[in-house]
Point group: C2
Chain length 367, copies 2
C-alpha cells in the first residue's frame, strides 16, 4: 500500500468561528448526521444535496434548512454555497467525484465509510485533498462508541496486562431477505443493498476492522472467509476474519442471516478481550454490561449511560465533533483519510483473502 | 495422507462371550475407563500395567483386581495374560510400541487419543493391526457426548436446513501455571504437561476436530493460530482454528489461560451451529441448555440428564461400549484408527498452519 505522506495543515480558526457545512446525501443515515451537527457548537448546516431532491427537501424541512439551499446536484451546491466543509453521506461509488469536487473548491471534507470502492480511488482522493490543502477525514463513528473508548483506556491502564486476543461477534437474525417473507427494514430503507456484490463487511463490518486498528495498531495480515445465507441478496451476509493487529490475535465474526441466534436488540457487540493478566467483556446479552476480570477480582459496569438510541446517536456526535475540533485547531484527526485508508486496505485484503483462500499480508509502509 | 485401505474383520463372538481386557496406564484418566468397563456387560478387566507400579496397585485395589495381575511392563502383561483386548491409556509417546506389541500377540486394541505423536507412527500402527487381523479403535469419547449426538441427529432431521457454520468456544481460567501461584489441579495431576511442546490442541482440542468430522464429514483445509499466556508451561495454551469441514465453516476457539472469562464449571462447550433455516446453541452459561431456533420458533431442552459428572462418565462408557459392540459383531467402529488418523492429520495440519501462517489443505485420499 502506497500511503501518501502526512501533511499537517497549518490553518486554524478562531474560537468564535461558526463552520458552515453542507450535507451530501439525505438517505436513512443522514438523520443521525444532522442531529449530531445540531448538537455541536459552532456548526451550522446551511445546505443539502440529494439525487432525489424530494428526500432532501423533506430532510431540510425536518431540520429547519431553507428549501432555497437544497440541491439535486452536489456541484451546484458547491458552486452556490459558501462552505467550510461538506459532510458526505452518499453511497461509496460517488465519494471520489464528490471529494475531488469539494477539494477543488477548497472545501474541507468529512466522508462516510467505506471511503471508496477501490484503493486507487481512495489514494486519488487523499492526494486531491492534500494538493488542495483541505482537511479530509472519514466519518468512522464506531471507534467513538464510549465502550470502545473505555476498552482502549482500560487496556492502556493495564487492566488485562499484555493484550493477547480479542473476539468480536455479532450475529443477527432476519436482516437478509428471505423467500416468501416481506423485506427486512434494513433492505426496505436501502434497497440498493440487495444488489451489492460486497455486502456485510463492506457496508458494516469495516467498522470492526477500524475498531481493531483503534485498539491495537496496524493490521499485519488477514485471513477471511465469506459466506451467504440469503438466496436473494447477492453479497456475502457472513464474514469470519482472523487478523494479526499489532501482535494481537483478532477474530471478527459477523452474520446477518442467523435465524434465532440474536436474543435482544443492542448497540453492543459481544466482545471478549483477553490479556495475560485479565479480561474485559462486553455483554449485550447481560444487560449491556462491561465486565473487567483480573487478579483483583471481577467487576461490572454499564457499557453506556442513557438509552441504547442515545448511545448510538452519541457516537455520531463524538465523531463529528472530533472533525470540527481538528478543523478548528489545525490538528490531524485520528480518522484522517490518510490513516483510514489502512482500514479500507484491510477490508479489501479480507475480500482478497476469502477469494484466494489464503493469508494476505499488508504493507503498512508508513507505520 | 496415505490412509490404509479398510479391511473388514470377519471374526464375531457369541453373545455369551465375556471379553477379557487389560488396561495399560493407570493415571488420572484411568478411573473413568475402569468405571466405564465396570458398567458394560460382558467385559472383565483382568490386569493392569503402569510404569510406576504403586499407582497400578492402588487402582487394582480400588477396582477389585488381584495384585497378581498388576505389571510395571506392558510386555510382561501381554505375555502373562490371556486377553481379548487392551485399553491403552498411556501417554502418546508409548502408544506405538504398545499397539504393535498387542497386535503381535493377536490382541485387539482400544487406544487413547491422540493416537500417536506423528503420522508415520499412526500409519505403522494401523498397518500392524491390519497385518495381525486385530481390531484397532481410538477411544474418542467426545463424539459420544449426548449433546453432540443430539446435534448430529437434529441436523440430519433438518432442524437448521443446510448447515453453514459452527463455532465451538471454550475458554477456561487458571488452567495454566502462573508465576507465584500454586500449580492448577490439571498440572499437579499430570506434571508432564508442563513440558509438552504441543499442548492445548494435542492434549485436548483434538476432541473438537473429531467432533467437527463426526458432524460434517472430512476436513478440507485448516487455518490455525497458536498462542501462549502462561510464562511457565512451554506449549500453546490458546488455539484458534478455522476449518472447512464438509463445506461447513467451522471455528474452534480454545484457551486455558483466560483470566476471569469462565463463569461456571460445565462439561459443555459454547456451541453455535447455524444453517440456512435455523440454529442450535449449546449454552453452558444458561444452565447447560440446548436451544433450537427456526421458523417454527425457539425451544430449549437440557443438554444432558443427570449431573455434569454423570454426563462426563457416560461419554466414556458409550465410547467403550461401542468398541465392545463392534468387536463382538465384527463391525467397523466409527472411531476405527484408520478413520481417526484423519482427525490426527487435521490436528497436525493445524500446527503446521500455525507455524507457517498459511492455509493447509488436507488430502483425504480415501474419502
Amino acid at each position: 500500500m502506497n500511503i501518501p505522506q502526512r501533511e499537517v495543515r497549518s490553518i486554524t480558526y478562531p474560537a468564535s468561528h461558526v463552520f458552515r457545512g453542507a450535507l451530501l446525501g439525505t438517505g436513512q443515515i443522514s438523520v443521525y448526521h444532522l442531529r449530531a451537527w445540531s448538537q455541536i457548537k459552532g456548526v451550522e448546516i446551511v445546505a443539502l444535496a440529494n439525487r432525489t431532491i424530494e428526500k432532501a427537501l423533506a430532510r431540510a424541512d425536518e431540520f429547519g434548512i431553507s428549501p432555497d439551499h437544497v440541491y439535486s446536484d452536489h456541484r451546484e451546491l458547491l458552486e452556490g454555497e459558501d462552505l467550510d466543509f461538506v459532510d458526505i453521506a452518499t453511497l461509496p461509488d460517488v465519494h471520489r467525484v464528490q471529494v475531488e469536487d469539494a477539494a477543488a473548491q477548497g472545501v474541507n471534507v468529512l466522508c462516510q465509510k467505506p471511503m471508496a470502492p477501490s484503493m486507487e480511488d481512495a489514494q486519488a482522493m487523499v492526494e486531491a485533498c492534500d494538493h488542495a490543502g483541505v482537511l479530509f477525514s472519514i466519518n468512522e463513528n464506531w471507534r467513538w462508541r464510549t465502550w470502545y473508548r473505555d476498552l482502549k483506556r482500560l487496556v492502556e491502564e493495564g487492566a488485562v496486562g499484555k493484550p493477547k486476543y480479542i473476539r468480536i461477534v455479532r450475529h443477527t437474525n432476519l436482516t437478509v431477505p428471505r423467500p416468501g417473507e416481506s423485506l427486512p427494514e434494513f433492505f426496505k430503507d436501502q434497497p440498493y443493498i440487495m444488489n451489492m456484490e460486497r455486502l456485510i463487511l463492506y457496508e458494516w463490518g469495516i467498522h470492526l476492522i477500524d475498531v481493531m486498528r483503534f485498539l491495537f495498531g496496524e493490521v499485519n495480515w488477514v485471513f477471511a472467509r465469506m459466506d451467504r445465507t440469503s438466496p436473494i441478496s447477492i453479497g456475502e451476509d457472513r464474514a469470519y476474519i482472523t487478523m494479526d493487529v499489532g501482535g494481537v490475535n483478532c477474530l471478527v465474526d459477523i452474520s446477518w442471516g442467523s435465524i434465532g441466534v440474536e436474543k435482544r436488540e443492542s448497540q453492543l457487540e459481544q466482545v471478549t478481550l483477553e490479556g495475560n493478566q485479565g479480561s474485559i467483556e462486553l455483554l449485550p446479552d447481560e444487560a449491556d454490561m462491561l465486565r473487567i476480570s483480573n487478579h483483583e477480582g471481577s467487576r461490572t459496569q454499564p457499557a453506556f449511560t442513557g438509552t441504547s438510541d442515545d448511545a448510538y446517536q452519541a457516537s455520531y456526535t463524538a465523531a463529528q465533533a472530533h472533525f470540527i475540533g481538528c478543523l478548528r485547531e489545525g490538528r490531524e484527526p485520528e480518522t484522517a483519510a490518510r490513516d483510514n485508508i489502512r482500514t479500507l486496505g484491510a477490508m479489501f485484503a479480507s475480500y482478497e483473502s476469502a477469494a484466494e483462500n489464503n493469508v494476505i499480508h499488508l504493507q503498512n509502509a508508513d507505520s
